[in-house]
Amino acid sequence: MKKKNNYRNFHIITIIVVTVVMLLYFIGNIFPDNKWLTPVIIFVYLSSTTKLIGPYEKKDELTKINLGRANGITLITVIAALFVISLIGSNSDNKDIFASEVYIFTALAAILMRSLLFIVFDRTPESLGGDE
């Protein structure tokens, strides 16, 4: 039977891909015509987290608890971030803050934060006593 991948790997891949996407947006000038870049990266991401890497182990109760904690903190942070963005935007003449890129970055940052938090909550250092 093929050994299933650790669920942490899914989040590690997510962190890498989202970081790359954010960096590519930041250095967007290097790729003037990058409108296909994001869909390609999303396709590569979906492929790598499903078919290529193989099946992941089932989420157990500790995974679900850690995911829930990560989701909760991320949700509060996103709400706070959007609140601050709207406050700044409504008190500023510069309405660029409402550009769609701000929301894309917020969404990407939320995905990144969720995976990072999960990795932090789910870490199991060897000092905890693994026997294999």
Binding site: Y7, E57, D60, E61, L62, D122, G130, D131, E132
Partner: protein
């Protein structure tokens, strides 16, 4: 707050069972078993009963709060 104490490690030693093997038998990840053994995670009643069933003992024998 009461601390979870467990005899999981002792029972595993008696049954000569690795963390990964126990994890597979009860349908959780090895990381969950590691945390359980260290008392860093309080299992659900179902998981506690499943583990107790693997070792043929009771939940009270395996887990306690001090």
């Amino acid at each position: 707050m009461p601390e979870l104490k467990t005899k999981l490690k002792e029972y595993r030693a008696i049954f000569d069972m690795k963390q990964g093997e126990l994890a597979e038998l009860v349908g959780v990840r090895r990381e969950t078993i590691i945390r359980l053994e260290k008392g860093q995670y309080v299992p659900s009643l179902k998981l506690a009963m499943d583990i107790a069933a693997v070792f043929g003992t009771t939940v009270e024998e395996l887990f306690s709060f001090e």
